[in-house]
Symmetry: C2
């Protein structure tokens, strides 16, 4: 009887509301499948700042380290928006977590059910069957963490700021391994996105991709695209991609563009896999919805819990090796939603249900 | 009788086809307005590589320097796509031109006429009146030109590549001056886009924007947005922006996302203004369509000349100070297109006209 040991970092505003429902879904499948849930909640984000003076308190980091995965909600909101950009909850919680656990592989499914194409800003004729693609973003390299990163006053009195974009071949190879695994489980099509006509890091990126895929995955259909063109192609015809892989900063921008094209952030999950293994010999990981804390609807019980529930499914898949149960949860979410139970973000004027009722409908499908 | 001295760099594939029509429109207004056209054609891009062994031959650079502006077509295509990314025509022509003439301010109107919303990938309900926004991109700084930019083998055998993103306060101030002028001529709304929660350059960017706008343009409504959010908001509701300003790399990505959302690249123009003045005391500048060389339709006489004609209008406005004539050309393009004369990219199944007939219809409106 396997035990699922994970840290629960629900965060702020709707974070705890949707987390409650994800935990209820997990409790349900645990009963069905004879699993033991052993999770520990900890403060993060605004809640961390308010109660411990830090968006990522030491105590929270310790709890994360003692478990096999992190189920993350969302953090930040108006209460802390006066803080300088570097101290804002999202940034001050997520970047240290990524760095500390070397969460180098961000996997974001860009999934829009055919029944929900109305939710997308794109014309339905462009996405008649919805959207089904995956963004793989390198998450611990590039301009996010590269040194030097500093501001100086020059002799002539001007002020100069510098960031450093840096990649090692080994960092590119490890994210490629994840991209290859993902592409193999789907259509065996991989698109690597870079800016090799301008950046040295992208030249290394492209060379490494070509060599690594030729050697380790000649079965894949590999293509390359410049990031500016990718930003166009995503909005023009997202399904021309199947799996795309890119560096940290480009992935930040493209994954969010992809998310909005998929209609509701309330439906989008993500996994950030670590370089080290958990106690089960599987990747330690952090799992979180793509969306934010939605302060405008917090406390009303109407937030869409699907993204949090789907993130929990990703946790079962990647950090606990429970592929079948993960797939079962994903199918239940799809069935519940496509058979008509919908929160207001995806209801299109029909009667919307609340957070709890949405989760109930999903549980009923399990 | 003012003389318009400009270099004509038509480039490859449809480049020369649409350039011919833009020059015809200019000749027409020159007759009407008693202007003298004094332009010199020069090879660039693939044509430069084929005839001089270089995408930007010295002779071409010299011709550019001897004139008051550059009217640029578009460059590149399948013929040269085997060349390494850094030697590809577009990159190898444009980056040195930008650097040589310090073309620091890229102005890209994101304009979609209400009558053409069908061309946009966005649902018409999101853009009932079309789109009318402007992207101002810093074009000579950031990670494009920052040093060091190099690849090294590390002692442990791993290979490491580095790019440097660097901005000086003075560089940020000069692009802001352009953004402020642009915003003042429109709705007095300016959105600055950065990644101040991660980048030092963005922290300096945001501080400089706040101080500069407070001092020089307190009449503007200023807002800030993170680049990932901007990528979402552009696709969700582009008209929430009026004028946005951003650094080089972010501008590369966002301006292309904006372009695709505006439907046809065949309608989008751009201006890249230089730091130095031309012989008229106005900014030297390079003017080019947002789209590429469209090799698939080259030689067929069906390319849309509007973007090139609108780019010529921008040249009249910025490098020759002929605001009224520029506006007249813009109005003529709008009238010709909205009254039904359309090339195939914007015809939506109705009868399409060719490149020359499109230009004729525009000239008829002048
Ligand atoms: C909060 C911020 C630092 C973070 C990022 O830029 O990676 C966020 O935008 C994300 O994508 O998770
Ligand atoms: C060709 C390339 C170097 C260039 C850029 O990245 O600036 C292009 O994409 C553009 O936007 O003009």
């Amino acid at each position: 009887m396997p035990t699922l040991k994970f840290a629960v970092l629900a965060g702020d505003y709707i974070g705890p509301e949707v987390m409650t429902e994800a935990l209820r879904v997990l409790a349900h499948v645990a009963r069905q499948e004879n699993l033991t849930l052993a999770y520990t909640a900890a403060d993060v984000g605004g809640a961390g700042i308010d109660r411990h003076g830090k968006a990522l308190p030491e105590s929270t980091l310790k709890i994360c380290a003692e478990h096999d995965a992190i189920l993350f909600g969302s953090v930040g909101g108006p209460k802390w928006e006066k803080l300088p950009p570097h101290e804002q909850p999202e940034r001050a919680a997520l970047l240290p977590l990524r760095k500390h656990f070397t969460l180098f592989a961000n996997i974001r499914p860009g999934l829009l059910y055919r029944e929900l194409t109305e939710a997308s800003p794109l014309k339905t004729s462009r996405i008649p069957d919805g959207i089904d693609i995956v963004c793989i973003r390198e998450l611990t390299g590039g301009v996010y963490f590269g040194q030097p990163k500093q501001t100086t006053t020059l002799p002539d009195g001007d002020v100069q700021a510098v960031d450093t974009m840096v990649y090692r071949r080994s960092e590119i190879e490890r994210i490629l391994a994840v991209a290859i695994t993902t592409a193999r489980a789907r259509k065996k099509k991989l698109c690597s996105i870079d800016k090799a006509n301008v950046l040295e890091t992208s030249v290394l990126w492209r060379k490494t991709v070509n060599a690594y895929v030729a050697h380790h995955a000649p079965d894949l259909e590999l293509s390359h695209m410049y990031v500016d063109n990718a930003a166009m192609q995503l909005a023009r015809n997202p399904n021309q991609f199947d799996v795309f892989v890119t560096e940290n900063m480009f992935g930040d921008i493209l994954s969010d563009e992809m998310a909005v094209i998929c209609g509701s952030l309330g439906m989008l999950s993500s996994a950030s896999l670590g370089a080290s293994k958990n106690s089960l010999g599987l990747p330690f990981g952090l799992y979180e919805p793509a969306g934010g804390t939605a302060p405008d609807i917090a406390g009303k019980g109407i937030a869409n819990p699907c993204a949090q529930i789907l993130s929990a499914a990703l946790m079962l898949r990647f950090s606990f090796g429970l592929e079948k149960i993960a797939t079962r949860i994903e199918a239940a979410v799809r069935k519940a939603v496509t058979s008509g139970t919908r929160t207001s973000d995806i209801a299109f004027g029909t009667d919307a249900v609340g957070t709890k009722a949405m989760a109930d409908a999903i549980i009923a499908q399990l």
